[in-house]
Amino acid sequence: MAESTVALVTGASRGIGKAAVLALGRTGLRVAVGYRSDAEGAEEIAAKAAADGGEALAVHVDVQLEESIDEAFGRIERELGPVRVLVNNAGFTKDGLAVKYGTATWDKTIDTNLRGPFLCSRRALPGMLKARWGRIVNVASVAAIRGNAGQTAYTASKAGLAMLTRSLAREVGGRGITVNAVCPGFVETKMTEVQTEEIRRRYLDMTPAGRFGAPEEVAAVIAFLAGAEASYVNGAVIAVDGGLSA
């Protein structure tokens, strides 16, 4: 699985996804930079990965839509090759107390964070099974491990993703395919910058590292799990959180 291995990272125009693209590119993978709305950002990342000596392609994919996923995989297969590494990173979060939480927001959270990774994995698996090699890395969250007031949808979706990871690992682990998850803690991204100062301070107090994480620190673990050396790591749900969940 040397230079021709193709990876798809969803939600890759910023944050952890962006860092994952660059980290995977540096390991020699050809990377599809999946984006839903920020085409410009995705193109920029693709250009940056290419400038680093890799090969990357910005591809539109809305993981809430089955047709969009199918279209994206088709394009990647034609232009880069079959996807052997899938990083399910696209995520959505909106805080709100359950009593007043909108159904549409609930659905969008579950569809993006849980149903999307399932659909993308299902689309990628036939090729991986045939190749007897594949890597799926799900970007869950420390929210998969501990509950949070105001985050019923988000924590439920991420805990679901962690169990999807374990069950799928059991299904396909005999075929050279590994399925793992990383659980980032408080990482400095667009997703966390909307949090109030009070919440930021609370998380900082709970994090033994005494600081927030950088996207690159999560991407390094993703790149390891996506690589050949992680061949015996399967179904693992790995906290990358500065000790927050310890």
């Binding site: 036939p126 099974l129 045939k130 299904e171 396909v172 005999g174 075929r175």
Partner: protein
């Protein structure tokens, strides 16, 4: 394509996929008991049949398939090949 031709093709694909000699893949052979195929083996075989014949076999239709003969019939129905 007639039924005989289809049967030969399906059996060959199944034998390749399950890594068993072709002469063991007879219509009467049961996937689980006779061919030692687990559920993922069967799914992989179905994926290969779908690809070869350009058909889609939904999970509900796979559920009743216990024997090679039933798999052949499933593909035959999809392709409109009569016995």
């Amino acid at each position: 394509m007639d039924m005989n031709e289809l049967q030969t093709k399906v059996c060959k694909i199944l034998a390749d996929n399950l890594s068993i000699p072709e002469d063991q893949v007879t219509p009467k052979a049961r996937f689980q008991e006779d061919l030692d195929a687990d559920s993922l083996d069967l799914v992989e075989a179905v994926l290969a049949l779908e690809e070869e014949f350009g058909v889609t076999i939904p999970e509900e239709e796979m559920e009743g398939v216990r024997t090679v003969g039933q798999a052949i019939q499933l593909v035959a129905d999809k392709l409109g090949v009569a016995a």
